[in-house]
Symmetry: C2
Subunit: 410 residues, 2 copies
């Protein structure tokens, strides 16, 4: 049995690259950017009018002129026009190019326009006011979005602005999620007395969907030859296999021996944590013989996460190991979150304790209230909580007000 810290280190050391693909920018939310996005022009790309009103030559105002003949309109989206006579003005709209020979915009609120003349009703103007200078926000070539950024709505706006209709993002791993266990029936079925419905694979599908990974699922009966032949084929086809169940000491817990017989290298089995202790982790290096890379015969590996079958064990191990493995593989930096324990907790076993907590915000403090017992058990406690708080194995008593790392799942 190894520590959580060592297990995580081992998992992270098995991270790998899946390459890059190009996709339409509007489909890229949640994906990880694999190129630098730089300004294709200055921002703003021209001296940009930033208020609706009139534009004049400031010197005329300074010299006492207050009434200006309206000599034209500069609309947003129109080619730049010129103020040919500096005793005149031009009406200008937000977003328009600043007309030639003019420099200072006075908003409509401060002007009266009558009979083709605009009269300025304020006594002070700033030279060049209400003009957003070309290049003020950024110069052509400036870095706007760094590689390895996770794409959100903010990045979508920038991608559109610089014309990146197609964007390079990290390819996602191909993932197969497998349940085992003869007690499991389908969600649509009515279980017999001794049966229950499959649920962990669907939980895993949802947790992977949060990372924008589309996964496939399969169920295999507790029959060793069947398990072996199916897993052999999955090892050929997928980058990652996630299992739920059949990794403990039961007579039908065939997975560890099947993995061994199929040449999957065991990196660890059992971690000093609760829940999720019988976690099996390994990898198989192989030569890909798929058509697209048959010529380069590229070396690849399949990573195997064998999660224990208890619903909370599967859930927490996916968050505590698969997620960091994925982030590391795709070069995404994720900041650790911490929260303040809302109640005293005692936990005697020499194990890291992943305790479900309900989060709340009080005056900028993130408070984690343990969700425990009261007979509601596994199912309800996951629904009633938002996160796990990780209490380290080297202590027994954890005090209200102490701070520990958390893993959110909402």
């Amino acid at each position: 049995m190894i520590s959580v810290e060592k297990a995580l280190e081992t998992v992270l050391n098995s991270s790998q690259k899946f390459g890059v693909e190009e996709i339409p920018f509007l489909k890229s939310v949640g994906r990880i950017l694999k190129e630098e996005i730089r300004a294709d022009r200055d921002f703003p790309p021209f001296n940009r009018v930033s208020m609706d009103g009139i534009v004049i030559d400031y010197n005329q105002f300074k010299n006492g002129q207050r009434s200006f003949k309206v000599a034209g309109i500069q609309a947003a989206g129109s080619e730049q026009i010129s103020l040919k006579n500096i005793e005149n003005c031009i009406e200008v709209m937000t977003g328009a190019v600043l007309p030639n020979n003019a420099n200072t915009v006075i908003r409509y609120e401060d002007v009266t326009i009558e009979n083709g003349f605009a009269t300025i009703n304020v006594d002070e103007l700033n030279d060049g006011q209400n003009v957003h200078d070309k290049g003020k926000d950024g110069k052509v070539g400036d870095l706007l979005i760094a590689e390895n950024t996770i794409i959100s709505g903010a990045e979508i706006g920038v991608l559109a602005t610089v014309g990146k209709s197609i964007v390079k993002v990290a390819k996602q791993p191909k993932v197969m999620i497998v349940s085992t266990g003869d007690e499991l029936v389908g969600v649509e079925e009515v279980p017999l007395e001794h049966q229950i419905r499959r649920s962990n694979v669907f939980t895993l599908v949802s947790l992977l969907e949060r990372l924008k990974i589309s996964s496939e699922t399969a169920h295999i009966t507790d029959d060793k030859p069947v398990l072996k032949s199916k897993i052999e084929s999955y090892l050929e086809q997928y980058d990652v296999l996630l299992f739920s169940g059949a990794v403990s000491k039961g007579k039908y817990d065939f997975l560890p021996e099947v993995f061994d017989e199929l040449g999957v290298e065991k990196l660890f089995h059992k971690v000093a944590q609760r829940p999720g202790k019988p976690f099996w982790f390994g990898r198989k290096a192989s030569f890909s013989m798929s058509e697209q890379d048959a010529f380069q015969n590229e070396k690849r590996q399949t990573i195997v996460f064998g999660f224990p079958g208890n619903p909370i064990s599967t859930f927490v191990n996916c968050l505590a190991y698969f997620y960091p493995w994925y982030y590391k593989s795709l070069d995404l930096k994720v900041e650790e979150e911490t929260a303040i324990l809302a109640d005293d907790v005692t936990f005697k076993p020499n194990l890291d304790y992943f305790l479900q907590v309900k989060l709340s915000y009080r005056f900028g403090h993130l408070i984690a209230a343990p969700i425990t017992g009261n007979g509601s058990g596994d199912l309800a406690s996951l629904v009633n909580a938002d996160a796990f708080i990780q209490l380290p194995s080297d202590k027994v008593g954890f005090k209200k007000g102490e701070v520990f790392p958390i893993i959110r799942y909402r």
Copy 2:
């Protein structure tokens, strides 16, 4: 001009229901549950073995018996068998039904099995140990997930367990996102000197995608008759129209008058905030004549959000007004988040200031560092931040360490 508080109240008062639809449970992540989910059986549904090992009658152990003939195997997923002779034992697997006449499970680690006999190697057992009693986690009929819960991976597992392969969720509003402005060209186009690319509609599409709303987009030129005829048809077809631009004082800012002419009731125009001040908000009540409800002639309304065209204005107003309107409409309670200001901020105008901030966690404290100036301007500042912090209009100086509400966008 009205206050942010009053504007938000007005927006929330225009919330509405969109009904309920039934969808496959695996598609329901991020949607809002519109039924109560109750346990269809006890949990566990039977006295469930929770360790791999053997099961005995505790009284035999208490009376000194240590060696038990292995009389059978109770696998997970098999019908319950019986311990016919209480001097024997049965091998049992995690997840199996507890055999009849037996009550206490000893894990394999504490047993030696040789020649068909299991010898117990420990001196103490608890009566009934390693059995998870029927109904301990919940009773048939117990409420597992409340109505109006947002569905995450945790809920997916529960839905699967209770056999809800089809689940009732809130229908989403039908949303059309419209950009206006003759200076705008498509993302794939190379803008002329005086043009820029459309970006706000795509930002809005992404922000709505976060809420699992699929929206449609359109661009209309700054031509009043065209605007009027298109908007008239959108008012018939959609629950919500989001506009970006053309709500200020410009000569081609036709939207307010078009809305007026089309009978859209203005609820407010201009909010005391920066950015996002020229925000126009209204609604049009109408009778739906669509086929599916032609018979009931149901009263419906279309809500119109006219966001200012500046990218950050559109962005922050979508988060500050559309999001809460959506949550209220679908009866989702969302907790307000607060963060601690990392630097002093001075802001003189008598406006609520939505300031972009970068969030970080320090010892359970959520710290908000303002992202300002340095010439990086609008685009970069949205990318470099995670949230807006809302600084109220009634103060000028905001001190490091003070706590204010935040709106996250990652």
